[in-house]
């Protein structure tokens, strides 16, 4: 039972990060039916920017809390500009091209971003400065570290704000309308180019936060860190129903928990033959399972009614 609860906490932490990244995939897919495979690398850029900023700022003697807040803000700003640039330079010219063209562009962009990051930050692993207190609370044998609590609370807060924006504001209505029928949205006076750019900006800001979270959680950052994370977040988006915003949140949290449970129990279940380093297998078992048995995902609509 202790293992179960502990892995639940670990899974929700990881799942919160997956959810934030999955939102970027699902929002962009929802609005232009594009799987932006470079999204995971935007997460990586966010992590690396924050990592560098933290090193510099703490080097100046700033208090850790303020340095961290500033580093997160800088990561968000850089990723937002990066997201806007990606949309403008790479995807907008391909808006009317066959679907395969932007998809290949996305994969190419992912490689470009990784190699640029390798040039800027090097290929070795960089440790994330320990700015967060390493204390934790223990409750019935379950340990929750302060960083886990921070990740879960901050992710929940961001998702709540995003849901309010999408469901309750005129801008959110325009985003949903553009996703459903861009031509008619334009007739309503929506500047759909701007809405699409905004979607990329929003997704990239969330990606920046997720990047800082994952680097802070594992204490490490590297130019390839976005690859696996991006694939898993994409899996989470598919699990929840790609294009569906609450689905991405649910899919992310579920995937995190599945992965943590898998890692926690695989040793016992196989008599020690497989260890927790096989945890990545579970995410992709989930992906295969969803694609085979329920390809629209948990909350996805049954048919795409693109006219």
């Amino acid at each position: 039972m202790d293992i179960f609860l502990q892995q639940l906490v670990n899974g929700l932490t990881l799942g919160s990060i997956y959810a934030l990244v999955a939102l970027g995939y699902t929002m962009v897919y929802g609005i232009m039916e594009l799987i932006n495979f470079a999204h995971g690398d935007v997460v990586m850029v966010g992590a690396m920017v924050a990592l560098t900023a933290l090193q510099v700022l703490t080097g100046w003697g700033l208090p850790p809390g303020i340095a961290l807040a500033m580093a997160v803000a800088m990561a968000m700003a850089v990723c937002m500009v990066l997201g806007l640039a990606i949309e403008r330079v790479a995807y907008r010219p391909l808006r009317r091209a066959p679907k395969l063209a932007p998809l290949i562009t996305a994969i190419g962009l992912s490689i470009v971003l990784q190699q640029l990051a390798a040039l800027i930050w090097g290929r070795s692993y960089r440790s994330f400065p320990a700015v967060l207190p390493a204390d934790s609370v223990s409750w019935h044998g379950v340990i929750i570290t302060s960083i886990q609590a921070l990740i879960i609370v901050l992710a929940a807060l961001l998702m709540a704000v995003l849901l309010l924006l999408v469901k309750r504001t005129a801008l959110g209505r325009a985003m949903r309308a553009t996703a459903q029928n861009p031509g008619v949205a334009q007739l309503m006076g929506v500047n759909t180019d701007r809405i699409i750019a905004l979607t990329f900006a929003l997704g990239s800001v969330l990606a920046a936060v997720a990047g800082v979270m994952v680097a802070a959680y594992y204490n490490v950052g590297n130019y390839t860190m976005g690859f696996m994370l991006g694939l898993k977040a994409f899996t989470a988006a598919v699990l929840g129903g790609i294009g569906n915003i609450p689905g991405a949140m649910l899919g992310g949290l579920l995937l995190g928990v599945v992965e943590a449970m898998g890692a926690g129990y695989i040793g016992d279940l196989t008599g020690g033959y497989f260890g927790s380093n096989y945890k990545d297998v579970f995410a992709f078992l989930v992906l295969i399972g969803v694609l085979v048995f329920h390809p629209n995902g948990l909350l996805g609509s049954r048919a795409r009614e693109k006219v």
């Binding site: 949903r176 309308a177 459903q180 029928n181 031509g183 334009q186 007739l187 006076g189 500047n191």
Partner: protein, 240 residues
């Protein structure tokens, strides 16, 4: 008096196919004009070019004396130019009320919106009953009501309707046209594309007949009703 809408030599091409081939068309302020013609005559393409959904291959149009092509498509609705598109184009996964609010998206005067929602609900009581339902759950006729109501929310000066009766049961067609008459009576200028020529001509001042992308006849609606060619081709009148 200058026309509200003045179309000159408009051409629309899709790849190698010419859909609209040099159309001239005028709509005066407060006028009700119908564009009739067979499927593929270029009626919808004309409306789409005016709304900015397709780019014209040639010619041009002024609206209120201003060259429309200098205005990006998404800004045309704020000038009072509204199109109820063919196939209605409601946002299926938005609620009815959200769809109506989308119609008013460009407007800055949000305090006036509750009153105008009431106005639309007054025209279409059924929309009010279902206002929190997703638009995709509505019947075809109700979706047409919603599409018209949504266009009204933009407070149009020139309302263009593309095949409002398409695919609807006769009773529903009657109901839709009753509302279109009411809208016209409120002083909104109408440009109507319609297969049901009889109903359309009955509420129009003037009509244009289109064939293969060209205007082949312009006359008052009353004269068109008497025109043997129109009667034979569009009013289902074999004798003439």
């Amino acid at each position: 008096m200058n026309p509200l809408l003045e179309v000159r030599n408009l051409c629309v091409r899709y790849g190698g196919i010419t859909a609209v081939d040099g159309v001239d068309l005028d709509v005066m302020e407060g006028e009700r004009v119908t564009l009739i013609g067979a499927n593929g005559a270029g009626k919808s393409s004309t409306l789409k070019a005016l709304a900015g959904l397709v780019a014209p291959a040639g010619g041009g149009f002024t609206y209120g004396g201003q060259d429309l092509q200098s205005i990006p498509p998404w800004q045309r609705v704020s000038r009072g130019l509204a199109l109820v598109p063919e196939g209605r184009g409601v946002f299926n996964r938005l609620t009815i009320e959200e769809n109506l609010l989308m119609g008013a998206y460009h407007r800055k005067d949000s305090s006036a919106l509750p009153g105008e929602l009431d106005h639309v609900y007054g025209l279409f009581a059924r929309l009010h009953e279902r206002r929190h339902q997703q638009a995709g759950t509505l019947s075809g006729g109700e979706q047409q009501m919603l599409a018209i109501g949504r266009a009204l929310m933009s407070r149009p000066r020139l309302l263009m309707l593309d095949e409002p009766s398409m695919g609807l049961a006769p009773l529903m067609v009657e109901k839709i046209f009753e509302v279109i008459r009411k809208i016209a009576a409120e002083g909104v200028t109408l440009l109507l594309v319609e297969q049901n020529a009889r109903l359309a001509l009955a509420l129009s001042d003037r009509a244009y007949v289109m064939e293969s992308g060209r205007i082949v006849l312009v006359d008052t609606a009353a004269a068109c009703m008497e025109n043997p060619m129109v009667r034979a081709a569009y009013l289902g009148d074999g004798g003439g």
